[in-house]
Symmetry: C2
Subunit: 347 residues, 2 copies
């Protein structure tokens, strides 16, 4: 076994502290990655606080991982020592169900091995995430990272990037379409960059007027203060697609009514409490409320290659790991533009 | 003006009583139809009680209309005196918006003239529905009815039929798919007949065990007692498509969880209170909650022709108009298999 250093929390009321644990020796299909940067995703906080239930402690969070390959198994074909590599929200899946076979491992109908707060393929060994020195992952669940982009800014693409890219592609967002982005945070700012890069007319809908300048800088063509019901009403029946990245309780009907006929609102946030949906927000225009969860390995690689070609990365604030608790507090307040990324050499 | 006899309600606390009113003389594009049968739709009751707000009184309900053409305007091409004719939920629309041009008049972005509880194209003259002796409708909003089917049983196709046919077609239900129908009432029983005629494997999900025999007679291949959470769980991640025809409050998450990846639950009922939707019911399987509203004229004609070819009609209980109040009471209790239809010669 390999000795690993990381940061873990012992329970929902604990803080993140230095933690020593072990990972398996790389098998024939595994790569051993030295972690260079790891993003802080809002879902790290949800899970560290056990807000979704069933959390496994001690927990080493982190699923926006970039690093460098230190060792490869004998059968590994796609990576060699010294390559950059990325790991996202899962490190294995059943590989045999219809979803896995379709390259949609994130919707695996068998056992999926989440990068942390889950179990390995054996369904027993706990998984530990990216707030750590090294990780061992099957090469088929490891992503190739372009050397042409700043690495710290690439890390959040592994979750925030693919979580917004996948629904934009699945629901066929393209040139000339009107796209709304609700909530300008870690996910929302990636949605603005990606949707505008795809040729859509992007409007940011935010409760905070102070985000307007940033919204436009990130590529939005319009900004609507969503607290102002008159402004919202002026955009009724207008949008082809709305991406809702808000995980706090909010009135989703106000946004559904902005969709044109056959428009789609995709939820990518995960509010712990149910959303109240009026049938009359959906029925009269045949509107759709959908959910979307990260993306599969093939699509994540496609997104990383797309971002490399289009020079798209996340806006980040790099911190030493000793500031992770402060970063959690600031993330909960929305006080980050737009993603904290831990510099793992500070470990 | 033409003198018309009908039944109307004067307000949300009134009952339906005989009522005399006038309709316009048929213009060059109009047909005058002697109404032979009119179905009683649950939305007649919602509107007579002003449960959706903004009701216009006196109200002559009824939008499941079949009858015989008595007179045609000079420019009318598709109908001649003596033809059977049908009228559904709307009698005109703006004709120029994108939805009207696409044959989706039910989603008209301008003014739609609902068959009752609305206004004509002038946006002033109230419309009166099918609980009446005759109706005058532009031929473009009038449907052709096959003489090969029993007329009383055809009437409910004009709303219950198209309301279920349209989402089955739009969401591409076909052979081998697993389709769930929630609620075996006026809409639900049509959904079972139509979906099974399209080759789907149909399961009825009902709170009432007494409906099982009927469900199977109507064409369902399976029946699940939806009050039994163990039975429901056994069907998790199983359905490609679920049609939810329940207008009472219900736990929609229990049904959403029955959908497989990329499955669609289409709401065609209109519960007056919002539905509580958990993000976790949608996000992990990229499921979709959609609404669907009746159908356009082109699709309604397609449905009527399809039903004539497949010998599909509604199961009805024919009543004299003097029993309409008792029929409303029984409809509210779910005590009808599966649609009341008024024999208008009793007027």
């Amino acid at each position: 076994m390999l000795p690993i250093r990381g940061y873990a929390t012992k329970g929902p009321t604990s803080i993140l502290e230095p933690f020593k644990f072990e990972r398996r020796e790389p098998g024939p299909h595994d790569v051993l990655i030295e972690i260079l940067y790891c993003g802080i995703c809002h879902s790290d906080i949800h899970q560290a606080l056990d807000e979704w239930g069933g959390a496994i402690f001690p927990m080493v969070p982190g699923h926006e991982i970039v690093g460098r390959v230190m060792r490869v198994g004998a059968q590994v074909k796609r990576f060699k020592v010294g390559d950059l590599a990325g790991v996202g929200c899962f490190v294995d899946s059943c590989r045999v169900c219809a979803s896995c076979k379709a390259g949609l491992e994130q919707y695996c109908e068998g056992h999926i091995a989440w990068t942390y707060n889950g179990t390995e393929k054996d369904e027993k060994t706990p998984t530990y995430g990216g707030y750590s020195s090294q990780i061992v992952v099957d090469e088929h669940y490891t992503l190739k990272i372009s050397p042409n982009l700043p690495l710290a800014n690439v890390a959040p693409l592994l979750c925030a990037g693919i979580t917004t890219y996948s629904p934009l592609r699945h629901f066929k967002v393209g040139p000339g379409q009107r796209v709304g982005v609700v909530g300008l945070g870690g996910l929302g700012h990636m949605a603005v960059k990606l949707a505008s890069s795809m040729g859509a007319q992007v409007t940011v809908l935010s409760t905070s007027k102070t985000k307007e300048q940033d919204a436009r800088r990130l590529g939005a063509h319009d900004f609507v203060l969503s607290k102002d019901s008159t402004s919202l009403e002026a955009h009724a029946n207008r949008f082809d697609f709305i991406l809702d990245a808000v995980s706090a309780p909010h009135d989703i009907n106000a946004y559904l009514r902005l969709l044109r006929r056959d428009g789609v609102l995709a939820l990518v946030g995960a509010p712990p409490k149910p959303l109240e949906v009026h049938a009359f927000s959906l029925v009269p225009k045949r509107r759709t409320l959908a959910g979307s969860n990260i993306g599969g390995i093939r699509e994540t690689q496609e997104m990383l290659d797309y971002c490399a070609a289009k020079n798209i990365t996340s806006d980040v604030e790099v911190i030493p790991i000793q500031q992770v608790e402060a970063a959690y507090d600031r993330t909960l307040k929305g006080d980050v533009r737009y993603r904290f990324v831990i510099d793992m050499k500070t470990l």
